[in-house]
């Protein structure tokens, strides 16, 4: 049925679930519908119930830990958290563990990463909470297995989920909200099934050209497109799916957190991670960066060193983000590059502030040329780190061996300058277009413009899917 992607079947399934959920405003009814649809969704993905046993065990382990912490055995919280982390790493078969200890039978792990974050969040919050509270098994399962967030997130906090899902008076759902959500579904569908698919083809084409014995200028162009296409592909693929699930959840009267905020507009790598996979970076900032910084600040008394503690904490946090993405050594490097990127960025900020003064640095950070080049550099660095995201060592070796170091340097320079120019032009164009306003706001975001936009994208998406007549492309982030 291709339900784990942004397929037409998944969209229809979500819309039917939303219609049924809205048959009553009662929270019991809405919870029942969400539970049944989530279980049905899980059953369709797993095909055989027996494959779900390890996942069920993981959920039980998390709930058992939660109950213990809730009953005041707060000392058990650390052990529960460690047990959950270990079982997660074991079930995901991380390659740093000995292979002999893994289960030999096939089992279902789709969505396990996102469940893991939700379970850990519950355990940490329960241990930190001064007020005793109880989360029932029903609420726990609804939160962890919610079909809208199961496959690729976003990672929602429990209090936000409970606020909407268990509200006596659910959040309103009028025609304007419905219209906006339908537009968002169309936009998401277009991103995954048209835009991402085309960008993927561009990257594949580039890879094939590099491997061929074509003239050097062809290979340089191919290398350029291989670098540039993947970040845009990943954005279209992931954010498109997120658009769809956020819209479906909103139609079911639950507001999911945003996961993207125009990431390629970021003028620094630190800013980039405030805009890309926001819920993941927020989760790690909350549960890794903040506690680690607090601990280090308590232990390091030197005032001169304190600004640099953030550098260390950022490195650890974003190294973990990178490592979370996969089980192999390529993702370790990916983690080092992510952590290194934000750490160097933080160091640069601290250093410039020290030599220019706070005011001088603030002035520089507002300079449009500085912002444009920073944006280009951010994009180029992210594109560079992506090599360890989509390729294995064999492919990376072949890629770097295809052209010389000098040629690669030229290509990266071209990527930086092009990204600087193109993204700056895009920002300018966007601002110019949004400056056409009526009394209700920008013309381009008016409901009439949105209808035209959604209808056109819908038609194009329909034409392309009809033309290709193939299953919807997979969502990259479901693999993590």
């Amino acid at each position: 049925m291709n339900m784990d992607s942004a397929s037409l079947q998944f969209v229809l399934f979500g819309l039917i679930a939303a219609i049924v959920s809205n048959c009553s405003r009662s929270r019991v009814w809405r919870s029942m519908v969400l539970m049944l649809t989530s279980l049905f969704f899980l059953a369709m993905l797993a095909q055989q119930p027996i494959l779900l046993i390890p996942l069920a065990g993981f959920l039980l382990l998390g709930y058992g830990g939660l109950v213990m912490v809730e009953r005041g055995w707060s000392r058990q919280a650390v052990w529960s958290i460690l047990a959950v982390i270990f079982v997660y790493v074991w079930l995901k078969k991380y390659t740093f563990l000995p292979g002999e200890i893994f289960l030999r039978v096939p089992y279902f792990t789709l969505g396990l990463s996102y469940i893991f974050f939700r379970v850990l969040h519950l355990l940490i919050e329960a241990a930190d909470s001064s007020e005793p509270r109880h989360i029932g098994i029903g609420a726990y399962l609804l939160y962890t297995l919610n079909f809208t967030t199961l496959v690729s997130g976003p990672i929602q906090r429990f209090d936000e989920f409970a606020r909407d899902q268990f509200a006596v008076e659910p959040i309103p759902l009028g025609p304007r909200v419905v219209g906006l959500q339908l537009e968002r579904i169309v936009r998401g569908f277009f991103k995954v099934n048209v835009l991402a698919m085309l960008l993927h083809a561009v990257q594949e084409n580039g890879l094939e050209q590099i491997a061929k014995s074509v003239p050097l200028d062809h290979r340089l162009f191919a290398a350029f497109w291989v670098i540039v296409a993947y970040p845009f592909f990943l954005y279209a693929n992931f954010s498109g799916y997120i658009d769809i699930v956020i819209a479906i959840a909103r139609l079911m009267r639950v507001e999911l957190p945003e996961n993207f905020d125009r990431p390629f507009s970021a003028s620094s790598f630190l800013d980039f991670w405030n805009r890309w996979h926001i819920t993941l970076s927020m989760w790690l900032k909350t549960y890794v960066y903040n506690p680690l910084l607090m601990t280090l600040m308590r232990r390091v008394s030197s005032i001169a060193l304190q600004p640099f503690l953030g550098v260390v904490c950022f490195f650890v946090t974003f190294f973990l983000i990178g490592v979370w993405h996969g089980r192999t050594s390529e993702f370790m490097v990916f983690g080092v590059l992510q952590g290194g990127g934000v750490a160097i960025n933080k160091f640069w900020q601290v250093w410039l502030t020290q030599i220019m003064g706070r005011k001088g640095y603030k002035e520089l950070a507002k300079n449009s040329v500085y912002i444009s080049f920073g944006r280009g550099l951010t994009f180029s660095w992210f594109a560079f780190t992506m090599f360890w995201f989509w390729a294995n060592w064999g492919q990376i070796d072949a890629l770097f061996a295809a052209i010389t170091v000098l040629e690669w340097t030229t290509v990266w320079l071209a990527v930086w300058l092009s990204a600087t120019g193109v993204l700056a032009t895009w920002e300018w164009l966007r601002a110019a277009l949004l400056s056409f306003k009526t009394a209700d706001g920008p013309v381009l975001t008016s409901r009439y413009a949105r209808v035209v936009y959604a209808s056109s994208l819908g038609l194009i998406a329909f034409v392309v899917t009809a033309l290709l007549n193939q299953p919807a492309p997979g969502i990259v982030y479901k693999a993590f």
Binding site: L173, S456, A466
Partner: protein, 417 residues
Amino acid sequence: MSPSSARNLQGTREATLSRKDWLVLPTVGVLAIVLLGICSELIAKWALPASSQGLSDCFAKDDPTGNATAKPNSVCSEQIAESPYTAEYRFDRYGHRAGMQLLSKAPDTYRIVMIGSSFAMGLFVPREMTFAALLPAELSKLTSRKIELYNEATGGKYRGGPFPTPGPPIQFNEALSADPDMILWIVTSNDFVTASPDIPAPQLASEVVHESDNQSTAASSSWSRSNLLAESEVLTEKIRNRFDQTRVALLLKHLMLESETQDQYVTSYLKNEDDAGFLRSEPGEKWQRLRQQFEMDAAQYEGQAKAAGVPLVVVFVPNRAQAAMISMGRWPTGYDPYELDKELRKIIESNGGTYIDVLDDYRTVPDPEQNYFPVDGHPNSNGHAMITRFLTRELTSGAVPALRVTSSQQMTMAQER
């Protein structure tokens, strides 16, 4: 005011929509779709122009079988959207795009009668660019003999037959009556499909759809077995078919196929089991049945040719995807682009015919799929030139003694090119 009630109030405000908007917004949406559709179609028609009238004018309109040859002495022309040329079809008194009048053969002339389907007929390509026109000139130059080629191949109404189609013995006798020194039979994978005598081409197409429906129904869950879904699938199929007839669809497919790498093209082609079934290393039941039928027809022709003392030479010309696979030199497990070729050689040689293999020649050409019309699938003018080169090389390499030339002559010819 609590945050929750503030959110609710905001939502209530959001929920309102004026009466005017209930009418205007859907109208705007529909207008946007219609306008975009019309504009796209106009742009596509401008980008890929095609003639409104065509080859079908040369065929009887009331022929229900679709197997009739063209009207004698008729002339018509057609430009398909993918071709830069308008192809003229000039049929002789026997309804063949022969390129010559069938007169009694001069004593020093070696006459080849070519049979086959649309590839051999040169569908959508001006006659002077087809291999039917180019081959005799090349062979004459190389062998220093006067060689003429009388082309009896025809696309037919459904761009299929007549070789092999229902009633082949009569049609094959027509080929023999042209006083040939050799009959050259150009076979394509599509000819296997049209070989089934009891299933005219359009019915076969519907059977294919039906089979695939059955397969997908069997594989899917009980939900998809419901009548409602079956009806919606039929509707979707109708919409898709309707869309496929638009110029926008053609333009998009054309651009997509043209820009795809060999790997991408072959991968997506093989996903369509109906089209790619003949490329399987172990053909399915449908293809086994089609091969058996083809074998019977081939045995019949070879018997007739043998009785008349005319050598029958058979060549298999690959389709676009097959050519790409051979050129790449690799293909996914479970597929083999040489499988049908090997089978065909076995069939032809077991009945005493001569089989000429040109598939290996495709290995020497980078991106041979560019020599076909991407969507339509027939060879374009470059494709016909390429086939001419291959046929010339193989026909003169010794498989046909009367056309044999020395390797030095072949080398000279190659250098001249």
